[in-house]
Every structure is written in structure tokens, then in C-alpha cells.
């Protein structure tokens, strides 16, 4: 082999020279310079000790790094340093950029052979930075790890103002600051606010009128109860939860494999919110529903689906290094558990004790052991490096089973019919081809009979037109095209034949076990095994024993959902608060650690956490309390005093204005135009449309893939939460999510961004979504009201939930007139009317009043 030749040529020269040398001299003159020049930059106590290895002391290589001692004196094959410089294994080759010259390799080999004489002293571990140890007791002094208290509501001067204990906590701080709360928002603003917050779209004109005509104070509660009971509530609030899970209908960002069962988890969430599932139970089901008792197949299925929480995130499934992939998956799950329930960043502790928070390797690997005992992925047979996410077959009720059997029978019949047609076409094709060949043969067999002997030059034979042959050729081509289509239809139908329902879910491994700490996150460098457990700093007691044969997920779930857990309830109520008031009491809603923000109202936060838990962890009752508070009723307008004393509104002297999320904008447009579909749910991916699927063949290099090229017709009018979430760019089903700060389906987004971009303005000005809704709205207004004034009043009430002002009326009327003069003529009167009203409706739907909630 050519590449080794120069190495052997150089091999002997330096060795002969050195053989006689004294060991110390040999080290000083030959070895040390190589180490300094080639290794110290990354492996010395002075600079870095990559992989934990220092080579500037004897002690350094004797203790070695993550992989153990670097040198076994005298043993070339067992000495890792020799293995590395020999560049035999790419993953274990040093120096990383290019191999050492052969003479330097020879020096190191000679050194090891001699027993690695090394005069250097010094303690590698002492010289290295002292190891930081986590002081749990000190850590527990941090506010977020203190037990949740139940502080009494403070006394206030203005006793008439508070409607709820919440108001007293807020008012006390405002009074201390000498700041008066803003005035109340008018009733129109309030009903638009509450409708958007609880259901994700504005109130209908009738609902606005009913509320504003009801002067009793109970009118507010009536509206709130109606909204909380509507199915739209779950559809909106499930999406808030989805923002914490990395949910998408595709498996991972780095592949195009579809997550065909993911929608079941989304539908589970919508149902959970609508049924007001107690939050502690909600936590337990999502982490360990499969391990909980169930009284019916439906309940069992529901609990299995719930564990999709741990499976729907952005997962890499094409890593050839499966050990690394497994640890990456566990990491994704731990980051999610930490972020969603505990407000802690767990990811750091994968490689080292957390730099700022009392979260250590032991905490991380204690929890990781539980997840490793219920692996999330497995090898996908037949597709090289690909893996697949674990899915579990769901139990069915007898009715569900019967329905599926019928669906399967129908599908089989359909498939059989397609195949019969394919056979028929194939046979016809055979016949046609045979006939064509016969014709061809006959034509060739005919002797050329010159018609006119006098003109033999004109012998260039013009093929005789044969209508029969033409017809057959045409038919042959038709059949070829038909067979091709039929082939892909059959392939598609076979692939997507009705199967037993499945969900991406968790399941305990046959042999659950504790796992070792992976040094620097490296699965090939296991260190000491740590017992499975939870975050020690947030624990009030020893972690309960995990029954033999179980992963420990259930015990972890119970620990998180325990009323003594200092983080869970605080993190949860803070998020709920943020959704209504715009900012959290702790503004870093996903992170309660040292580098996060401190609560603006610690007592209020604890009051809310206590109240939430005491009231059976009911989210609906909790939200009801908040939205009926005086604070929620405040106007969002600024006033000078507030702006100067508390410009950031940390004391909530006014309501925070919010730009609507992408979903709320789209859903509001559909609602206002009267086109919003009422029935939804079920699979988001339009897998039944052949163009959307790819690589269905079992013989391909890649597993089956999905591209949302075409939507189901119904998807144009469904709520946004039901549309497929793609990981690589927006799906054509709704472009709006890519323009208006949709939560990246890879991370944890407790609070959406509210950016302002000209591309958003372009969307509002020109996109079909807005344009078409404006057209439908215009048509309905025209049909419902003959009179221009009545139309204007209806439009304002419907789009903005408030009456039109006098100025606006004048402006709108002159706008309509101007547009009329600019529109192309001639036009039928109906078309002219529709066109000018579409322009007006479009203006309202693209306005700030529409896309902000006050």
C-alpha cells in the first residue's frame, strides 16, 4: 500500500540513533519536544485538558482521560496514545487535523517501549482547576427551591378596588409605589380580549351585543363560563402546551420521515384541556400513563397516547452512531421534562455539573436512567442507518374494533378492484403488443412491388398509412400511462392500508436499570453508575424506591406532580398567568434558575401556586379566577404616571397589549368571515393524497417520506392547530405560521416572540388567506344588509367587536366612493359592490386593531 511506504523508509533512522541514549536525555531531547509541539495545545494543565487528558505531567498520562490511562508502559498495543498517533481508527486518531510525521510516531513508540520514562512531576488533577461540587443545601436557599408558601393577601388602602385576592397582591405593590391602576377597559374591549385569550378568536356580533346589553356584574362570569365550556378553549390551550413539546407531524428536522401517529397526542391534549383534566394527573399520564391502571380500553389507550409527550420532539433518527443517538434522544426528553414542568435547563448536566444551578451529573443521569429503561427508538430494518420511533398498538373497544374490521374489508375490496383492473390492462397490453408485432411483420414480409417500372428512382418507400397500426400504437401508449398510475396507486394503497391504531408512546424495557454517568456526554466513556432519581435540590425527601422491573418513570411523574415539589405548580401558574397578562410574574417563563429572572410578585406567585393545587389542580377554575379579577379588566392604554414610574409595566398597572399568534390571526380571519370549520381532529397529514408521499418502495435507500404539496379541501377552513406541522419550512397548508413567530417545533417556547417584519405586512396586504376571507365577509354583509350604514355597523362589530365611530363611518363611506371610481368598468352592479366592499373588509382585517389584542 502506497501510503505506508514513506513511513517504513523513515522508520529505522531515528531509532538507531536513539537506542543507546540515556532515558532522561531521550525524553528531554526527543519526547518532550513532540509532546509540546503536537499535544500540549489540547492536553496540558496549562491550557486545555480535552477528554480529561493532560500530557504535561507523568501523573497526567498515568491517570489518563475519559478513556483511561493513556500509556501502559512497555505495551504498544494497549497504549491509547500510540493507537491514536498511528491513525488506525478515524474516531480515535490524534492529532485531529493531520497525522504526525513518521519519525515523531517512531519516537513516541520507542518511548512507550522503553517503559515511558518520564522525569516530570506535578499532579495533573491538582494543577487542573479545582472541581466544583454542588452544594445542595446552599442551592436550596434559592427562591425557586424553597417550599411553596401560602402568604395571606396583603392589606390595601383602596378596599373597593380588588375583586379577587390577586388584585390585593397587585394593588399593594402599586400603592407602595404610589401608582394608580389604569381605568377599566370598556366592555367591547373586554369581550374581545377574553374571547381571544380563551378561545383564540373574537366574539361574534351577537355575543358582543348580548354582553354589552347585560348591565349586571354577573355578565362577565357568564361570558367566561360560556367560553371555558366551548370546544374552542381546548383547541387554543392545547396549542400553548404543544409549544413546550417540540410537536410536529414529522419525526425530525434532519429527515423527511412522517410522524403518522403524532396527531393522537395533539387530540389527547385538546380533550384533556376541554375536560379540565386535573393538572397533576395530566403530568402523570404524559410521563407514565402506560404504567397507570385503567378501567377501560379507551382509558388505557388515552393514557398510552399521553406518553407521546416524550416522543413527539425533534428526534434525529439517521445518526449512524446508535449509542450517541440514544443519548441524544434521552437528552431531548430530559430537556423537555426539565423545561415544561420544572423550569430548569437540564441539558448542561449531560456533560458537566450545571454551571449556574445546583443541577449535577448525578441528577441528569439519575433521570436519564429511567428514560434509558424505556427506549424511544429502534432500528428501522432495511434502511441502512435509519432508526424508527417506538410506536405502541392501542387497545380498542369492541365498537372501534368492529369499525376497523369494516374499514379493512372495504379497503381490501378497493385494492382487489384496483389489482383486477391492473391485470385487465396488462392483458390488453399483451394483446395490443402482439397485434402490433404481427402488423409490423406483415408489412416487412410484403415484397416491394414497384407499381411503375418506368420510375424506379422513386423507390424511397413511404410507409403506407395504417389506421389500425396508429390506433394500436396510441392505445399501447395509453395503457402504459394507465399502468404506471395504477402501479403507484396500488403501492400507495397497500402502504396505507388500514391497520390497528398505534401511537408514539413509551414502554418499559424488559430490564430496566440504573445507568452510568457518561463522561462529557460520551456514551463510550461510562463512569460510575448512579441510582435513578430526580432533581435532588428540589427534593423534600429521599427518592422513593423503584419497584423491580420498572423504569421509574411513574415515580418521577409522582415526584413532579407532588404538592411538595417547589417548582411544578409555580412554573405552571406562571405560564398560565403569562398567557393572560402578556408577561409572567417570572418573565423567563421556561427558566427559573439562577440566570433567569426573579418574580416581580413572589407572594402572589406562591398564592397562585397554592390556590391552584388546593383547587384540585383545575386549570379552568384557575383561569376563571384570573380573568374575573380586576387586573384582567384594566385598559391597556398608557398613562403618563405609569410610564414614568414603571415603564415596563412590571407591576401590571395596565393590561399588556399582545400581537396575536399566527394561529389566532388565521383562526380569527376564518371566524370573522364565517368560514371556520366546526368539526376537526384526526390525522393532519394528507397521506391519502399520493403526491404528498414519497419513497414508499421497500427497496429504496430512504424510508417513506412526506411533503405537504396538496391539502385536503377541508383543511382550508380548519383551525390552525389541526393543520400539519412540518419541521422543514412551512407547509403549504398555512404559510402564516412562518411569518408570525410560530413556535419552532424543536425547542421549548413558553412564550412566543412578537417580531415586526415587512414580510408580515406583505402577507396582510396581499396574501390570499386575508384576501379570500375579505371577499367572503363582503358577500355576506351585502347579502344580509341592503343599507350601507347597517353594513358598516355589522362589519365593525364582527371584525373588531365594537361599534363604528362617527369619524370612521365618514372615512369608510368616502373610501367606498373613491374605490368605486378607481375600479375598472364596465362591471355588473353586483360585482362592483362585492369588489369595493372586499377592499374595505380587507382593510379592517389587515389593521392593527385586528392583529393586536388590547
Amino acid at each position: 500500500m502506497r501510503r505506508f511506504r514513506p513511513i517504513t523508509a523513515l522508520f529505522l533512522a531515528p531509532l538507531a540513533l536513539l537506542a543507546a541514549g540515556d532515558d532522561d536525555l531521550f525524553f528531554e531531547s526527543k519526547v518532550r519536544p513532540v509532546l509540546i509541539k503536537r499535544c500540549y495545545e489540547c492536553h496540558s494543565t496549562e491550557k486545555k485538558t480535552k477528554g480529561g487528558l493532560a500530557l504535561d505531567t507523568r501523573d497526567g498520562w498515568q491517570h489518563g482521560g475519559d478513556n483511561g490511562p493513556a500509556i501502559i508502559p512497555g505495551d504498544l498495543t494497549k497504549s491509547l496514545i500510540i493507537k491514536a498517533v498511528r491513525y488506525l481508527d478515524e474516531d480515535f486518531a490524534m492529532p485531529p487535523k493531520s497525522r504526525l510525521p513518521a519519525d515523531e510516531v517512531a519516537i513516541l513508540e520507542e518511548w512507550v517501549k522503553r517503559g515511558a520514562p518520564d522525569p516530570r512531576t506535578g499532579d495533573a488533577t491538582k494543577a487542573a482547576k479545582p472541581k466544583r461540587t454542588i452544594d445542595l443545601e446552599a442551592g436550596r436557599q434559592f427562591w425557586a427551591f424553597q417550599p411553596v408558601a401560602n402568604p395571606p393577601a396583603p392589606a390595601v388602602k383602596d378596599i373597593a378596588w380588588p375583586k379577587d385576592a390577586v388584585d390585593r397582591f397587585l394593588l399593594a405593590k402599586l400603592e407602595a409605589k404610589g401608582l394608580k391602576p389604569a381605568t377599566d377597559a370598556d366592555r367591547h374591549t373586554w369581550i374581545r380580549r377574553i374571547s381571544l385569550d380563551l378561545t383564540g378568536f373574537p366574539a361574534s356580533a351577537e355575543e358582543v351585543v348580548a354582553f354589552t346589553n347585560d348591565n349586571s356584574d354577573a355578565a362577565y362570569a357568564k361570558v367566561v363560563d360560556r367560553l371555558l365550556a366551548s370546544p374552542a378553549f381546548g383547541e387554543r390551550w392545547a396549542r400553548h402546551w404543544l409549544d413546550l413539546t417540540g410537536y410536529a407531524d414529522m419525526i425530525g428536522t434532519s429527515n423527511e420521515v412522517f410522524a403518522e401517529h403524532a396527531w393522537r397526542y395533539r387530540d389527547y391534549l385538546i380533550q384533556a384541556f376541554n375536560q379540565d383534566k386535573p393538572f397533576d394527573q395530566f403530568i402523570k399520564e404524559q410521563l407514565a400513563g402506560d404504567l397507570m391502571p385503567a378501567s377501560s380500553p379507551e382509558q388505557r389507550a388515552e393514557q398510552i397516547i399521553a406518553t407521546g409527550f416524550l416522543q413527539v420532539g425533534d428526534l434525529e433518527i439517521v445518526n449512524p452512531d446508535k449509542a450517541k443517538m440514544e443519548t441524544d434522544h434521552i437528552d431531548t426528553q430530559l430537556i423537555k421534562i426539565g423545561g415544561a414542568f420544572l423550569g430548569m435547563t437540564m441539558g448542561c448536566a449531560r456533560c458537566h455539573d450545571h454551571k449556574f444551578d445546583p443541577v449535577g451529573l448525578e441528577d441528569y443521569y439519575g433521570m436519564a436512567g429511567m428514560l434509558r429503561s424505556s427506549p424511544s427508538s429502534g432500528k428501522m430494518v432495511g434502511f441502512g442507518v435509519w432508526s424508527t420511533i417506538r410506536s405502541v398498538t392501542l387497545p380498542e373497544s369492541p365498537t372501534q374494533f368492529a369499525e376497523r374490521q369494516k374499514a379493512e374489508a372495504d379497503h381490501a375490496a378497493k385494492l382487489a378492484a384496483m389489482k383486477a383492473e391492473q391485470v385487465k390492462l396488462t392483458e390488453e397490453n399483451k394483446a395490443v403488443v402482439t397485434k402490433l408485432a404481427a402488423l409490423e411483420k406483415a408489412a416487412q414480409a410484403k415484397p416491394a412491388t414497384p407499381v411503375d417500372k418506368a420510375t424506379p428512382i422513386a423507390a424511397a418507400p413511404t410507409p403506407k398509412p395504417s389506421p389500425e397500426k396508429d390506433a394500436l400504437t396510441k392505445r399501447r401508449d395509453e395503457i402504459a400511462a394507465l399502468l404506471k398510475t395504477k402501479g403507484s396507486e396500488i403501492q400507495h394503497a397497500e402502504f396505507f392500508k388500514s391497520k390497528a391504531p398505534k401511537a408514539f408512546a413509551m414502554q418499559d424495557d424488559a430490564k430496566p436499570a440504573d445507568m452510568p454517568i457518561y463522561v462529557r456526554g460520551n456514551p463510550y466513556a461510562p463512569a460510575s453508575v448512579v441510582p435513578r432519581g430526580a432533581l435532588r435540590v428540589a427534593s423534600w425527601d429521599k427518592f422513593p424506591a423503584i419497584p423491580a422491573g420498572q423504569s421509574g418513570r411513574l415515580q418521577l411523574a409522582e415526584w413532579i406532580a407532588d404538592r411538595r415539589n417547589p417548582l411544578t405548580a409555580r412554573v405552571t401558574v406562571n405560564r398560565l398567568w403569562q398567557k393572560l397578562f402578556g408577561e409572567g410574574l417570572v418573565r423567563s417563563v421556561d427558566y427559573f434558575g439562577e440566570r433567569g429572572e426573579r418574580p416581580s410578585h413572589p407572594e402572589l406567585l406562591d398564592h397562585l401556586a397554592t390556590r391552584f393545587m388546593a383547587d384540585g389542580w383545575s386549570q379552568k377554575r384557575f383561569l376563571r379566577g384570573l380573568v374575573l379579577s380586576h387586573a384582567y379588566r384594566l385598559s391597556s392604554a398608557n398613562h403618563t404616571e405609569g410610564l414614568s414610574l414603571d415603564p415596563e409595566n412590571r407591576l401590571f398597572w395596565r393590561m399588556n397589549r399582545q400581537r396575536l399568534e399566527a394561529e389566532a390571526i388565521r383562526d380569527s380571519l376564518l371566524k370573522v368571515s364565517g368560514e371556520l370549520a366546526t368539526k376537526s381532529g384526526g390525522p393532519s397529514l394528507a397521506l391519502e393524497i399520493i403526491e404528498n408521499t414519497g419513497a414508499l418502495s421497500a427497496a429504496g435507500v430512504n424510508p417513506p417520506s412526506y411533503h405537504h404539496r396538496k391539502s385536503r379541501p377541508s383543511q382550508e377552513f380548519e383551525r390552525t392547530v389541526y393543520l400539519p406541522v412540518m419541521r422543514n419550512g412551512p407547509s403549504s397548508a398555512d404559510k402564516i405560521r412562518s411569518f408570525f413567530d410560530f413556535a419552532d417545533p424543536a425547542g421549548i417556547t413558553g412564550q412566543r416572540n412578537q417580531t415586526v417584519m415587512p414580510t408580515q405586512s406583505l402577507f396582510l396586504l396581499n396574501n390570499d388567506l386575508v384576501r379570500k376571507r375579505a371577499g367572503s365577509l363582503a358577500k355576506q354583509l351585502i347579502a344580509a344588509h341592503a343599507d350601507e350604514n347597517a353594513r358598516l355597523e355589522a362589519l365593525w362589530l364582527r371584525a373588531w367587536n365594537r361599534p363604528i365611530t362617527g369619524e370612521e363611518r365618514t372615512d369608510a363611506r368616502s373610501f367606498l366612493k373613491e374605490i368605486t371610481s378607481l375600479l375598472k368598468t364596465p362591471r355588473a352592479p353586483d360585482a362592483l359592490e362585492a369588489a369595493r366592499w372586499q377592499e374595505l373588509c380587507h382593510s379592517l382585517l389587515a389593521s392593527n386593531t385586528f392583529i393586536y389584542r388590547l
Binding site: 427558566y591 417580531t755 406583505l762
Partner: protein, 455 residues
């Protein structure tokens, strides 16, 4: 704290980001005068075959069509490579220019600028699939979503022109190649399509929904009157004010954007240089010419992408097609930048997300060797860089005799990122952004500047 509100594309938003180069006072400067002020990245999605274009191997050529006797044969578990046949280069690869850089006959135009570019023959990446590798090439990682390098550079350096975005991506291959992730939205790449005709739009939603511009203006005026009224009702709101300004900008973009992408005012010589109007070269030629225009106008990071390099089968028939589409435009870009004196401080990068195997791939299992293709190879591949402080005419790095692994001059994607930032005057260790309580950087915890290739 993460910025929750930000503005992009245009005059009104970019005042604070306007900079000619990295500010010497920026906390992340590397203390060296920046050699490059802007970057043009030519992304060849699919994995161009380095062994055919830049790194021929006599070991393979000698065994063309025959099984390779190597222990690798057992290790490699790729589909359609079971026979492990050597696949020789598709066309001669020869020394070019004074430097003698090896370039294929398939790239005759590039061969004429060999002395201007620096060929990296020891590129390395970690993921063997397109999406993952593309993501890593652009963001440094494939296991989670992070900002793309264009976004990082925009974030670190701002823009040179207040009327243009700092990061433009022409014909992007997926959102991960231009996503800002947790960086402020102003740093997201603005996606442009080079219009194939006067009717098609370079940016989404740029076409007026109303019947005429006059009607749309009336509509916008009404919206703005209502928006201003609302703003005064709530006594001021920065976000709403931003939206009002952005509406005006959006309206103007409807006319200014088509002007920017309009190539009709370029000289015939320039159009010819790029192959605009050529049968194969028109589309990519337009894209490269537009990249030069944008770069010249001060766009910090311009990316031009083209797919189609994924030659699993019939590489003999398919590779020349891609070369024909891209070779002339790419070489034209280097020449054009040079003749305008822009190459000095413009860094040009050409790369795929990985390369291809020296052994053949045959998914059908039945094709003759001439119809075979090659599998993906992140273990070792070739890229090149030019201008902006890069040593011209240098061939750096070496692969083993088979062309499978790097034996010298290894440049991992992280090292490439570190080097790009270094040339822009940025220390890759110091350019960080706080997200969820942690400081992130483009190179994660890796990356070394490749000093050997610096001029």
C-alpha cells in the same frame, strides 16, 4: 433576555445595525483587521463528487469496475454498494494554472481561475444524510435547531446597506439554511427567487392583491389612518409603530424588490460572462450575477443554492449536467468580483454538504458499471474558498489512497465556520447569544481557525 421584538428588511429598522465591518470595539472581535467584509456562499446541495471533480485516485481508476479489496468492505453498510466496485473518475482531472491545482475537465471555466481559489481536500462532516448534513453545514449541528451561519454573521456584523437585508438567500434549500432560530428575527435570511419571467415574484406576497396600485394605495392609506388612530388611543406602542412603518416599507418593496433583481440593465459582456441566456447556464447564471449585485450593494451574507448533485445512479450521465449548469456562472462570479476589485474583501465559498464515495452504488443491482452512481460521504470531501484573506492557488489537505478518509489537512465544518468568522474579524469563541440561560455559538464547543489557508 431574548429580544422579543425586532424589525427586518429595510431602512427604518436597521439604523443600529449599520456597520461597514465588524466594529473594532465589539466584544467578539478577534483583534485582527478583518480581511473579508462580506460572504458569498455557493451551496451545492446533494453532495458533489469530489473524486470526479478535484481529488482523483489512481488506486480507484486502476481498479475501475473491479471489486476493492479492503477491510472497509465489511464495515460499510450502505445500500447498493455490496459489490464494492471501484468507480473511476468520469472525466480527466488535470493540473491547472500556475499552482497546478487538480480540476476536472467537467469544470473548464473553474480551471481558468484555479490560481484565485483555495481548494480544501480534507473537508469533514458528521451526518451521512442530506437534511442532517445540510443542517450541520449551515448551523454547526444536526441534533437541534440553531441559527444558520448567515444569521450569526448578520447578528455579529449587521448590514452595510440600510435598504437591504443583511442576509439574503437565493433559491434556499430548506428553512434550516437561513433560519435565525433564537437570534432576533431581523437576522433571518430573506429568501429570494430569481424571477424566471416578469410575472413571477422574487418574494412571497409581493404581488398586489388589489386590481391596481392606486386601489391598493387607497386601502393602505385607510389601514394606516386606522392604525395611527389606534396608536394614539393607547398612547403609544412601539410594536404598533413598527407595524405602521413596516406597512409602508412593504408597499415600497413591491416596486423596489423587482428593481433589485432586475438584470436587464447589466451590460451584454457581463450577461455573457455569467452565461445569462445560455441553455444550461441561464438560471444559475442569473442567481450568481444577482449575488454579485447584492454583495456589491452591501448585503453581508449572500447564499446561492442549487440542488441536484445527489448522484446515486448514472453519475456519468448526470454529473456533467450539473457542471454545465454551474461551472461558467461560478467562475464568472470569481472573475467579475476580481475585475471589480471586490474579491479582496469578499469571501467566496463553494461546497456541498458532503461528498461521494469512491466506490460505486447501484440500487437496482443489475446496471452495468457505467450506469452506477456514488453514495454519500461525509468522511472526506472537497470545498473551495476564494478572496477575502484566503491564500489563492493553494491545495490544502489530503485524503487516503482510496479517497475515503482525510489523512492530512483535515477541515471539519466547525473549523470552516471558525475560519469564516475569523476572516470577518470575529472570534468564533466570543460571538455568542444567550438562550435559555446558556451562551450559544456557531461552532458549539468545537472549531479551530485553519491558519494554513490564510493569506
Amino acid at each position: 433576555m431574548l429580544q422579543r421584538t425586532a424589525c427586518g428588511f429595510g431602512a427604518l429598522a436597521f439604523q443600529d445595525l449599520l456597520r461597514a465591518a465588524v466594529a473594532p470595539t465589539a466584544p467578539y472581535t478577534n483583534g485582527v483587521a478583518p480581511k473579508a467584509k462580506r460572504v458569498i456562499f455557493l451551496f451545492m446541495q446533494g453532495g458533489p463528487s469530489q473524486i470526479d471533480l478535484f481529488d482523483p485516485k489512481s488506486f480507484i481508476n486502476d481498479r475501475h469496475g473491479k471489486g476493492i479489496d479492503s477491510p472497509l468492505r465489511k464495515e460499510i453498510t450502505q445500500v447498493g454498494t455490496e459489490k464494492f466496485l471501484a468507480l473511476g473518475t468520469q472525466a480527466p482531472v488535470r493540473p491547472r494554472g500556475k499552482s497546478g491545482m487538480m480540476i476536472s475537465d467537467l469544470l473548464p471555466h473553474l480551471a481558468t481561475v484555479a490560481d484565485d481559489i483555495c481548494l480544501l481536500r480534507g473537508m469533514n462532516a458528521d451526518n451521512p444524510q442530506h437534511a442532517g448534513a445540510t443542517q450541520q453545514f449551515h448551523t454547526g449541528t444536526f441534533t437541534e435547531v440553531r441559527p444558520s451561519m448567515g444569521s450569526w454573521i448578520s447578528y455579529g456584523l449587521g448590514t452595510e446597506n440600510q435598504n437591504l437585508p443583511s442576509f439574503v438567500t437565493i433559491h434556499p434549500q430548506g428553512i434550516r439554511t437561513y433560519d435565525n432560530s433564537f437570534l432576533p428575527a431581523a437576522h433571518q435570511g430573506t429568501s429570494l427567487t430569481v424571477p424566471a419571467s416578469a410575472q413571477s415574484l422574487p418574494i412571497e406576497n409581493l404581488g398586489n392583491a388589489s386590481e391596481s396600485a392606486a386601489i391598493q394605495r387607497k386601502r393602505l392609506d385607510l389601514i394606516q389612518r386606522m392604525n395611527r388612530q389606534l396608536k394614539s388611543d393607547v398612547v403609544g406602542d412601539e410594536s404598533m409603530e413598527g407595524m405602521i412603518k413596516s406597512m409602508e416599507l412593504a408597499f415600497r418593496m413591491q416596486t423596489t424588490t423587482p428593481e433589485i433583481v432586475d438584470l436587464s440593465k447589466e451590460s451584454k459582456a457581463t450577461l455573457d460572462l455569467y452565461g445569462v441566456g445560455g441553455k444550461d447556464t441561464d438560471k444559475f447564471g442569473r442567481a450568481c450575477l444577482l449575488a454579485r449585485k447584492l454583495s456589491e450593494s452591501g448585503v453581508r451574507f449572500v447564499q446561492v443554492s442549487i440542488g441536484g448533485w445527489d448522484h446515486h445512479g448514472d453519475i456519468r450521465g448526470n454529473l456533467p449536467k450539473l457542471c454545465a449548469q454551474t461551472d461558467q456562472p461560478v467562475a464568472a462570479l470569481v472573475k467579475d468580483l476580481k475585475s471589480r476589485g471586490l474579491l479582496e474583501d469578499t469571501l467566496v465559498i463553494w461546497s456541498g454538504e458532503f461528498g461521494r464515495t469512491p466506490w460505486s452504488q447501484d440500487l437496482s443491482g443489475k446496471s452495468p458499471i457505467d450506469k452506477h452512481g456514488r453514495e454519500h460521504q461525509p468522511e472526506s470531501f472537497c470545498s473551495w474558498m476564494a478572496g477575502g484573506g484566503i491564500k489563492p492557488g493553494l491545495t490544502y489537505g489530503e485524503s487516503d489512497e482510496m479517497g475515503y478518509r482525510t489523512v492530512a489537512g483535515k477541515v471539519h465544518v466547525h473549523d470552516l465556520h471558525a475560519t469564516i468568522l475569523h476572516l470577518l474579524g470575529v472570534d468564533h469563541l466570543k460571538l455568542t447569544a444567550r438562550h435559555l440561560g446558556r451562551d450559544f455559538r456557531l461552532t458549539d464547543v468545537y472549531g479551530d481557525v485553519v491558519k494554513e489557508i490564510l493569506a
